[in-house]
C-alpha cells in the first residue's frame, strides 16, 4: 500500500502531500524534511528507489518536480513508478502540458485528481479517460452551482437596487 504521496519542488517546497497512514503533523513535517533531503540530493541516472525507515520511497523527477510515493517493503517498485507516470499523464491531460505553476495555483484540482486515482493508498482506476471524465463531471457540477448562485445574487441585487 502507498503510505503517502509527496510532490516536492527542486527547491524543496512542498507542492502536494497526501497521507494514507496516520502521521501526526509533527511527524509529517519531519518526514518531508528528511525525504526531501534524501531525494533531492540523489544524482540523476541513479535508481528511483530509496530505502527509508523500513519502507521504500519511489520517486521520479518531472521537470522541476519530484513525485514521491512511499510504499511497503514487499510492494512492486516498478509498478509504483508506472503509477506515478499515470498520475502525471492525467495531470498533463487535465491542465494541458502541466507545469509547476498549475499545481501551485490549482493545487486543489491536483488533489481532486489524486483522489480519483488513489483511495486508502491503493490504485482506484487504471483508465486515464475515466478519471478525466469523472473530474470533468464534478467540475461541471461546481460550475452549474456557481452559475445558479450568481444568477440568484443577480436577482437579489436587481431586487434590492
Amino acid at each position: 500500500m502507498i503510505h503517502f504521496v509527496l510532490l516536492i519542488s527542486r527547491q524543496g517546497k512542498v507542492r502536494l502531500t497526501k497521507w494514507y497512514s496516520p502521521y501526526s503533523q509533527k511527524e509529517r513535517n519531519k518526514v518531508i524534511r528528511e525525504l526531501s533531503a534524501v531525494v533531492l540530493s540523489r544524482a540523476p541516472k541513479l535508481c528511483n528507489f530509496v530505502e527509508w525507515r523500513g519502507y521504500k520511497v519511489v520517486y521520479k523527477r518531472y521537470a522541476s518536480l519530484y513525485f514521491c510515493m512511499c510504499i511497503d517493503d514487499e510492494d512492486n517498485e516498478l509498478e509504483v513508478l508506472e503509477m506515478i507516470h499515470h498520475f502525471v499523464e492525467i495531470l498533463d491531460r487535465y491542465f494541458g502540458s502541466v507545469c509547476e505553476l498549475d499545481l501551485i495555483f490549482n493545487f486543489h484540482k491536483a488533489y481532486y485528481i489524486l483522489d480519483e486515482l488513489l483511495i486508502a493508498g491503493e490504485l482506484q482506476e487504471s483508465s486515464k479517460k475515466t478519471v478525466a471524465r469523472l473530474i470533468a463531471a464534478q467540475d461541471s457540477l461546481v460550475e452549474t452551482a456557481k452559475e445558479e448562485a450568481s444568477s440568484i445574487s443577480n436577482i437579489i441585487a436587481q431586487a434590492t437596487k
Binding site: 513508478l81 490504485l123 482506484q124 482506476e125 469523472l134 461546481v142 450568481s150
Partner: protein, 879 residues
C-alpha cells in the same frame, strides 16, 4: 461587479492573490508576515460566520497548511462545509478534512453523521466524495459505524461508486479485522466484473481479505482461482485497447494485481498452484521487457512463481528472468533483481551463486540503493568455499568506497570474516586490513573479538604484533587499529623487538625497544586519541616498563604528565603506575605478567548475552555454576571470583570482557563507589589489579586469608598466584610504612558481599496463566535507589516440558531495562524446577512513577510454538 460589492464586507484577498503574495516573499520572515495576516483575516471571517467566504477561506488554509503553518482553527470550517447541502461546498470540505485532519483527532468523530448522510445521498458524486474521505482517513470507530453503508455500496449501480466502496472496505477491514467476514461475499462478486476500475479494486480487496481472514482465503481459493486465471489469460491475450494500453500492454496495473492475488491463493496450496502454472509461464515468457510496465509485470510474476508451490520449470524461468534483469543497464531493473535474488537464495542458492560476479560488481555501484541491496545479497552468498575471494574483493573495495557506505560494508566484512574464516592467521590478516582501512567504523565487540582471537593464537603472537606495528606506521589515524596495536605491544612487545616466532611468510624487521615505546607514545600523545585509547596506552606502558628495562625511565616520563590530567581515570592511573614503576621494581614484573589466554567460547556467549537493545536473551554458552545460576562471565573471572559460591551470582554490568580486564570501562569505577556491592566485586578483581580504582575496603575478608596462605609459592604460574604474591609483597611494603598507594594496593581484595540494606520489597506474582507462573523478587543496589534488581522465576504449571523458553520484556521510556541471560531455556513440567533470570530496571522517575512492564513469554511444547503476553502493573510502590 458583484464580487466587488461582496468584498466590501470582507477584507479577504482571493486565493490566487494570496498565493502570489506568498510567492513574492523574498525571506521566510516576509512569508510569515503574509501568512499571519491572512490567518488573522480568515479567523475574523470565521468568527463572523461569513458563509460566502467559507469556501475560499478553506482553500487558503489548505495552502497555508501545505507550507507547514498551523491551521487547526480551520478544522470546524471543514465540518460546516461538509454539512452544507451543495456539491462545491462538500467537495472542498471533504478535501480540507482529508488534508487538515488525521484519524487521531477527536473532531473527526463529529463528521460521522454527515458521512452517513452523504453515503446515502442521491447524488452519486457526493456519495463518491464521502467514500473517498472515509477510505483515506477513517478511524476504527468510524469503520464500525459506517461499515454497513459501505458494504451496501459495493453493489451500487454505478461502477464509479463500486470501486470506491471496494477500496474503502480495505481501509475498514484493516482498521477492524473483525468486520472482514461481512465483506467476503460482496468482494467475491466484484471479481466477475468487466469494468477495469471495479475489477482492480475488487482484486485488491480480495487480496487484503485473504491476508486477514483464512476463511476468506479458503473461500476465494475454492471459488475464484480458475476464474482469476481465466481473467488473467483474457487480459494477457487481449487485443490493443487504447484506453488501458501502456507501452503495448493492456492494463499492467490489473495484470499485477491479479498476479498478486494468485500468489496469495497459490501459497501453500498445490492444487491452486497447479492451476495457475500455465498462465504464469505464459506471462513470464510472452511479456515484453523493454519498458517499465512490462518489467513490472515480469517482476510480479517472478515473485508469484517463487512464492507458490514448487514447480521446477517455472522457477528456472524465474531465475533466468532475474539474470536478465541483473544485466540490464537500467538501475531500477537491477535494483529489483537484487531484491528478488535475495528471496531466490532460499530455494536455489546454486543458481544465484552463478551471478556472484555480477552481484559483486553491484556492490561497487555508484548508486547507494543498489550497493546496499547487493551487499546484503553478497552477505548471504558467502560460504566456506568462496569466503576468501569474496572477502578480498570487498576489502579491496573498502579502500575506495564512499564514506557513507563504509559503516555497512565494514560491519558486513567483519561478520563474514568472523563467520567463515578457515584459519586464524587469515582471520587476523583480514581484520588487520579492515582496521587499517576503516578502523573507525569497526564496532567495539568486533575488535574485542579480534583481541580474544589474537590472545588464543599463541603461535601467531609475534607475527601479529609485527604486522600491527607495520600497519601502525601507515594508518596511525585509525583509532581501533591504534588500540589493538597498543594492546598487542603491551602484551607481546618483547616478541616484536626480538622477532620471536617468525613465520616463513614474513620479512624480518628491526624494531628496537624504544621504537616500540614510540608507538605507544604516539598513541597516547595523539590529539585525536580518546580516553579508552589513552587508558589502554597507559596500561601498555606499565607493561613495557618491566619488559624493556632500558626504557623504564623514558616510560616514566611519558606517564608522569598525566598526573595532572583532568580525567580522573587517567590521572589516577598515571599516579599509581608511576609509583609502581618508580618504587616497586620487585613486584612489577609479576604485576604485569602477560594476560592469560582469553576464552573464546565464553566471550562469544557473553557477547550474546550483552548485546545492546536485545530484549530477549540467549542462553547458549553461559557457564553454569553449582548454584544453578548461569553466569556469563569469563573463566578468568571465575578463577578469581572466590566468593561466587556463597554469594549471589555477580551480575555483569554488560560491559565487555576486555573492558573489565583492562579496567577501561569507565562506568565501573563509578558504580563501585556505591561500595560493598556484590554485583561487581567478582568481575572486577583484575580490573582492580590494573586500575587499582576501588576505594579501600577492610582487608580482613576471607579472600585475603586465602591469598596469604599461598605466600610461600616462589614462581607464580597462574594469575591467581600472581595476585597472591602481589598481595603479599604489597602488604610487606605496606608494613614497612610507605606511601599511601600501599593502601590502595592493599585494598584490591574482594570486598565481602554485603547483604542488601535497603528497604525490603515484597515479592509479587507478576504473571500467571494456566501454563506458567512468573514471580518477581526485588532487591536494590545500596546507594542507587533508582535501580532495582528483579529476579524473575518461572514455574511451569502444565504437565508438558517447555523448550526454547524465551522471556522478553518491554518498558516505557522512563525506565531502562537490562536483562541478564536466563538460567536455562528448558522449563521442566509441573513445577519440577524453574528458570530464573535477572533483570535490572532503572527508573528515571523514581519516586514519581511506579514500575510497569509488558512481558512476552515464548516457548515450545512438543515443538509447537506458544506465546503468552501480559502487562505487569502490580509492582510494589517505591521501586
Amino acid at each position: 461587479m458583484q464580487s466587488s460589492i461582496m468584498n466590501t464586507f470582507s477584507s479577504g484577498t482571493r486565493l490566487r492573490d494570496m498565493i502570489r503574495a506568498i510567492r513574492a516573499c523574498k525571506t521566510a520572515a516576509e512569508e510569515r508576515a503574509v501568512v499571519r495576516k491572512e490567518c488573522a483575516a480568515i479567523r475574523a471571517s470565521i468568527n463572523e460566520n461569513d458563509q460566502d467566504y467559507m469556501h475560499r477561506n478553506l482553500a487558503k488554509l489548505m495552502f497555508i497548511h501545505m507550507l507547514g503553518y498551523p491551521t487547526h482553527f480551520g478544522q470546524m470550517e471543514c465540518l460546516k462545509l461538509i454539512a452544507s447541502p451543495g456539491f462545491p461546498e462538500k467537495r472542498i470540505g471533504y478535501l480540507g478534512l482529508m488534508l487538515l485532519l488525521d484519524e487521531r483527532q477527536e473532531v473527526l468523530m463529529l463528521v460521522t453523521n454527515s458521512l452517513k448522510q452523504d453515503l446515502n445521498h442521491i447524488n452519486q458524486y457526493i456519495v463518491g466524495l464521502a467514500l473517498c474521505a472515509l477510505g483515506n482517513i477513517c478511524s476504527a470507530e468510524m469503520a464500525r459505524d459506517l461499515a454497513p453503508e459501505v458494504e451496501r455500496l459495493l453493489q451500487f449501480r454505478d461502477p464509479n461508486i463500486r470501486k470506491k466502496a471496494a477500496l474503502c472496505s480495505i481501509r475498514i477491514i484493516k482498521k477492524v479485522p473483525d468486520l472482514a467476514e461481512n465483506f467476503i461475499n460482496p468482494a467475491i462478486a466484484l471479481l466477475r466484473e468487466k469494468h477495469h476500475g471495479v475489477l482492480i479494486t475488487g482484486v485488491q480487496l480480495c487480496t487484503d481479505l485473504c491476508k486477514i481472514s483464512t476463511e476468506a482465503l479458503e473461500l476465494v481459493r475454492k471459488k475464484c482461482t480458475d476464474g482469476l486465471v481465466r481473467t488473467l489469460r483474457d487480459l494477457a491475450n487481449s487485443p490493443y485497447s487504447p484506453e488501458y494500453d501502456i507501452a503495448g500492454i493492456t492494463d499492467p496495473f490489473l495484470h499485477i494485481r491479479l498476479l498478486k492475488l494468485l500468489r496469495v491463493l497459490g501459497e501453500g496450496d498445490a492444487d491452486a498452484s497447479d492451476s495457475m502454472n500455465d498462465i504464469l509461464a505464459q506471462v513470464a515468457t510472452k511479456t515484453e521487457s523493454n519498458k517499465v510496465a512490462g518489467n513490472a509485470i515480469l517482476y510480479e510474476c517472478v515473485q508469484t512463481i517463487m512464492s507458490i508451490e514448487d514447480n521446477g520449470g517455472l522457477r528456472v524461468l524465474a531465475i533466468n528472468i532475474l539474470g536478465r534483469f541483473l544485466s540490464n543497464r537500467d538501475n531500477n531493473i537491477r535494483y529489483v533483481a537484487l531484491n528478488m535474488l535475495m528471496k531466490a537464495v532460499t530455494f536455489d542458492a546454486q543458481a544465484v551463486q552463478r551471478h556472484r560476479a555480477t552481484i559483486l560488481e553491484c556492490v561497487k555501484d555508484s548508486d547507494a540503493s543498489i550497493r546496499k541491496r547487493a551487499l546484503e545479497l553478497v552477505y548471504v552468498l558467502v560460504n566456506e568455499t568462496n569466503v576468501k575471494p569474496l572477502a578480498k574483493e570487498l576489502i579491496d573495495y573498502l579502500k575506495v568506497s564512499d564514506h557513507d557506505f563504509r559503516g555497512d560494508l565494514t560491519a558486513k566484512i567483519c561478520s563474514i570474516v568472523a563467520k567463515f574464516s578457515p584459519e586464524k592467521i587469515w582471520y587476523i590478516d583480514q581484520m588487520l586490513k579492515v582496521i587499517s582501512e576503516a578502523g573507525n567504523f569497526v564496532k567495539d565487540e568486533v575488535w574485542h573479538a579480534l583481541i580474544v582471537v589474537i590472545s588464543n593464537a599463541s603461535e601467531l603472537h609475534g607475527y601479529t604484533v609485527r604486522a600491527l606495528y607495520r600497519a601502525f606506521q601507515t594508518s596511525a589515524e585509525q583509532e581501533i587499529l591504534v588500540r589493538v596495536t597498543v594492546w598487542c605491544i603491551g602484551e607481546y612487545g618483547d616478541m616484536l623487538v626480538n622477532n620471536v616466532g617468525m613465520l616463513d611468510i614474513e620479512d624480518s624487521i628491526t624494531v628496537t625497544e624504544s621504537d616500540a615505546v614510540d608507538v605507544v607514545e604516539i598513541a597516547i600523545k595523539r590529539h585525536a586519541s580518546d580516553l579508552t585509547t589513552k587508558a589502554m596506552a597507559l596500561v601498555a606502558l606499565l607493561k613495557l616498563s618491566s619488559r624493556f628495562l632500558s626504557c623504564t625511565e623514558r616510560i616514566r616520563e611519558i606517564i608522569v604528565p598525566f598526573k595532572g590530567n583532568f580525567v580522573l581515570e587517567l590521572q589516577q592511573r598515571s599516579i599509581e603506575f608511576n609509583s609502581i614503576v618508580a618504587r616497586h621494581q620487585n613486584i612489577r614484573s609479576t604485576l604485569v605478567e602477560r594476560m592469560p589466554v582469553l576464552d573464546e567460547a565464553t566471550f562469544v556467549g557473553r557477547r550474546a548475552g550483552s548485546l545492546p537493545g536485545a530484549a530477549s536473551t540467549t542462553t547458549a554458552t553461559s557457564v553454569s555454576l553449582p548454584n544453578g545460576v548461569a553466569k556469563p562471565v569469563a573463566p578468568l573471572v571465575d578463577l578469581l571470583d572466590l566468593s561466587s559460591d556463597d554469594a549471589p551470582a555477580p551480575s555483569s554490568s554488560g560491559g565487555d570482557l576486555l573492558h573489565d580486564l583492562l579496567g577501561v570501562d569507565l562506568s565501573l569505577p563509578s558504580q563501585q563507589s556505591g561500595a560493598g556491592q556484590s554485583s561487581n566485586s567478582g568481575t572486577d578483581v583484575l580490573l582492580d589489579l590494573l586500575s587499582i580504582g576501588t576505594p579501600s575496603a577492610p582487608s580482613s575478608s576471607s579472600t585475603v586469608n586465602i591469598l596469604s596462605s599461598n605466600a610461600s609459592i616462589e614462581a607464580p604460574v597462574s594469575p591467581l598466584d600472581d595476585l597472591s604474591s602481589l598481595s603479599i609483597s604489597s602488604r610487606t611494603t605496606s608494613n614497612a610504612g610507605a606511601a599511601p598507594v600501599m593502601d590502595l594496593l592493599d585494598g584490591f581484595s574482594l570486598s565481602p558481599p554485603t547483604e542488601n540494606n535497603g528497604p525490603v520489597h515484597p515479592s509479587i506474582t507478576a504473571f500467571e496463566s494456566s501454563h506458567v507462573r512468573l514471580t518477581f523478587d526485588f532487591s536494590k543496589e545500596p546507594g542507587n535507589p533508582q535501580t532495582t534488581i528483579v529476579q524473575a522465576t518461572f514455574i511451569n504449571l502444565s504437565s508438558e516440558t517447555y523448550t526454547d523458553f524465551v522471556f522478553q520484556a518491554a518498558v516505557p521510556k522512563f525506565l531502562q531495562l537490562h536483562l541478564d541471560p536466563a538460567s536455562s531455556n528448558t522449563l521442566p513440567a509441573a513445577g519440577n524446577g524453574s528458570i530464573t533470570q535477572n533483570l535490572k530496571v532503572t527508573n528515571s522517575q523514581h519516586g514519581k512513577k511506579s514500575l510497569i512492564m509488558r512481558v512476552r513469554i515464548a516457548y515450545k511444547i512438543n515443538g509447537k510454538d506458544s506465546l503468552e503476553e501480559g502487562q505487569i502493573s502490580n509492582f510494589p510502590r517505591g521501586l
